[in-house]
Symmetry: C3
Subunit: 389 residues, 3 copies
């Protein structure tokens, strides 16, 4: 009993640490994807999110999601840390998709509300105390191991709301209907960031099993991490093949988004899939990213990092896939997707709408032209490097 | 018994690994903070420190600090590795603060002395064999979990000695009293480095509890890591607020130094604070950094990375804070700060003074103008990027 | 029994995670070492290798190496993940040494064969099911803890085959016999990458002990990690000294290759060395790198990252060193080096020769001149930074 308590605490701390590597992961990924003139702002936003979201979750959110600070199977502080490591991700997903045009202060206000209220309410009705127990909207039967819907879709619904309120980057969609390609500024940072996210996912999904302290649980944790990795592999490979067949060139940013899409797609079911299912689920997840990115651009939903495809489409696909590849009821999954989607989108939209009146999200067009870094942070990311564009 | 030995060894190895992430952490942080023409030198210095300090500690320092290579509660090799992971940090703190003007060879000599003698003597009288036992200067009663005084202050007192001997960077303080602002060259590296340090701190403070192999210890480790993180959050948030109120701009380098200041400030007491104390301690720690940086500049103590504020002021504040926020005697803390401070400063000053006669620390003014990389390393950090300044 | 199963599974997952940090490790190291015009290609190659090699090992290689998917001492999925983390390294070693002139598609074909057949066969006859049992070529008595021969030499023999088939970079060896120095483009990435590899090595060698679940095993794991680290320290220090004595300048790329050489050199015997042997073994390993790099350049074997010296020479040296510094028979070591060398080189050469007919490895001279990134990936690594060369 005591040994199991120790082991599960140690395991949760290990998993939490891996997830915290996603903080530099998101930061480097996004810093590489945007233009140099917006890099400092994107990085500052990422640090702000980790600090503000975690503190909000400590002071308010955790209690709202789970009730009392009590746990018998491992240290409550390890439980908190593991859950806290998740919370910023919902805002990361959202902020990345509206980068290059969004100011930090209103994002900070939204971060407080997301981490103190919106996300904790979603957790409450899925993994937590369950306010909706006994009602028509009870979705606690949804199988969502590590937050395919609870985290990825929630963050991405908030992103959709944000894109509708903030609009596209200046000049992204020309009056003639042409879409201006805006190249990523630093490919090594993108690769580094994506790989740190990948490693963090082992903690995300593996740790969500909740215990390693028996033979069965140890097997389940190891299978879950293996399946997580396989989903990422399949996503990367399928996108690599699509890229080569279509363009004879390997677009590494798309391949990495394919890997991330694959990772999202197995996040709901990595613990109930056999070791081959993630190959199919992840490959479909990767393909979804390729076609999703094009689709959202046609809809003029400007998302510089592809977060809608990676997190929204795959958040939905991954949750549904559990019913297709494991013994889980489809309706429980669909109902979970719908209830969380309606709540996360409408709550986020409402909150952002109000914040936007007080402190507008969107940077002025000339500020966007100049780059946000000067106005928002007073610091260029690479002041010594002469720019060619 | 055997299970506890295994668990504590595994836990020490896990904590040690996290601390080793501070090696790239310091390296990236400092590489981002200096001008491109000094980046290779700063990086080479960081690698030199890890190699030379660790080897010196292996051959001499560990035995001086702890006596016999024996341990009953976990593998002695894990104990060594955990302690070895600490030792370079004292020199990192020092070298960062004198970067852009300091040569590598004399630093290497000092690294040997610091890691073989000065730091081990500090450890000896605080956590180790205690040569001062029974004397007036016995400071083993000071509560310093993971080295707020033992590591951070020791390194920063050495830095103060180094700044007095080496002087400011050429051109930093104009004859007209103006302080020339020298912008950081690579913000993404700063963010990456600071976040790796943050993650390393979980190992630093969590591992310093020394055992995880019982319910109580597991709780204590998890609380310690949680408190460590909270200190960093509070430091970042308070500096973000100060920046916005004062300048309407978020200076990310200052915010990250605020986070690091918050992390230092809870390093002495993270195991004896309740879960709310780190909010206050870390916030004060962050604020100290902001005002400390200005103060040291007024004193013309040129410290390009803010290490005096982060590690010296917060090393002192964090050690004192234990007496304010936990049931620990103030005098034990103050006495520890004083005895270590007097010893670390005077020993470092003396050793540096002698080394400086043989192999001067300071690079010549024209070498500084050209950048140290050519002369010290023969390699530019970014040879293909055209410089605008 | 059950507790030991849990502990060893947890330990294997921890070690595996550290090894996965070598994926960004290799990627950053190589991205820093090549010219900016080839950075995206190198990064894409690294991602391709991880995805394709891991998937090939999952579908074919693991079974070929180890037979049935069964294990009694820990979760079979953890065993797989730990072994899978190794497999891409053989191709990484190879691809790095032929970078700046090699196309991605033929490399992908070779990756499949290496991960599904060549490397699994090497593992089979050393650590695995042992097809050669009872024959003259039985090399299972070779002591090779974590793959000094099995991984490092195997990958580096493949590299030698690749260099012979692909040839040097255009312009590297002038007609007048002069060797053109091609400077690394991004030193911070090199340092970051090398340090991530270093940390990954703790998992590589420590995890290869195979169990931590007793007092003796815990001691052995900790000693192994300590010895691993010491090998790296000694390699870095000796190369630093050689650099300073010969050139009065610290070439950080050479120092880091010295560290990596030291790490390779203790990979066969870290578990059977006492705590002082790695100082000698690693120092010799570092020195080998310095003189190896010069030697291979004289032989016009163009290897932009120094992989032949780091992995081939030290793979051999490290395997031999076990017999010199521990109680292991020399002939078993030599025989292992020879059998693996002959097989790995001839199998790799044959496979590459065939692939090269179908899909040539070598990028055309004008493509090399332009940089591979445009043709292979369609993306520049740093499109906004104006280039000086």
């Amino acid at each position: 009993m005591e040994m199991s308590y120790v082991l599960d605490t140690l395991f949760a701390l290990f998993a939490m640490t891996l997830i915290i590597f996603m903080v530099p992961g998101f930061a480097m990924l996004e810093a590489g994807l945007v233009r140099t003139k917006n890099v400092t702002t994107v990085l500052t936003t990422n640090i702000m999110i980790y600090a503000v979201a975690s503190m909000s979750f400590l002071l308010v959110g955790y209690t709202l999601a789970f009730g009392a600070w009590e746990n018998e199977s491992m240290s409550i502080y390890a439980v908190f840390l593991f859950q806290m490591a998740f919370v910023g991700k919902t805002v990361n997903i959202m902020s990345g998709g509206v980068s290059e045009r969004t100011r930090i202060v209103p994002l900070a206000f939204f971060t407080v509300i997301m981490a103190a209220l919106i996300y904790p309410l979603v957790v409450n009705v899925t993994w937590g105390a369950n306010l909706l127990s006994g009602t028509l909207f009870d979705i606690s039967a949804m199988h969502d191991l590590a937050g395919c819907t609870v985290i990825h879709s929630t963050g991405a619904w908030a992103l959709l709301a944000a894109i509708l309120i903030i609009g596209p980057r200046k000049g992204r969609y020309g009056k003639d209907g042409r879409i201006r390609v805006i190249p990523a500024s630093n490919i090594p940072l993108i690769v580094l960031g994506a790989l740190l996210l990948w490693i963090g996912w082992f903690g995300f999904n593996g740790g969500s099993v909740g215990s390693i302290a028996s033979k069965d649980k140890a097997d389940l944790v190891a299978l879950t991490i293996m399946n997580t990795n396989t989903g990422g592999l399949a996503g990367a490979i399928i996108v690599g093949i699509i890229m080569y067949v279509q363009y004879k060139r390997f677009d590494i940013t798309m391949i990495l988004n394919g890997a991330l899409g694959g990772l999202v797609s197995v996040t709901a079911g990595a613990d109930v899939f056999d070791m081959y299912a993630p190959i199919y689920v992840g490959a479909i997840g990767g393909a979804i990213v390729v076609y999703g990115v094009t689709m959202f651009d046609k809809l003029k939903l400007d998302d510089p990092v592809g977060a809608l495809s990676v997190h929204l489409l795959n958040g939905i696909w991954g949750t549904i896939a559990v019913a297709l590849f494991a013994d889980v009821a489809m309706w429980d999954q669909v109902k979970g997707v719908l209830v969380v989607g309606v709540f996360a989108f409408s709550a986020s939209f409402t909150v952002m709408y109000i914040i936007n009146k007080v402190s507008p999200f969107r940077a002025a067009n000339d500020e966007q032209q100049q780059g946000l870094d000067i106005e928002e942070c007073g610091l260029e990311a690479y002041p010594e490097f002469r720019r060619s564009i």
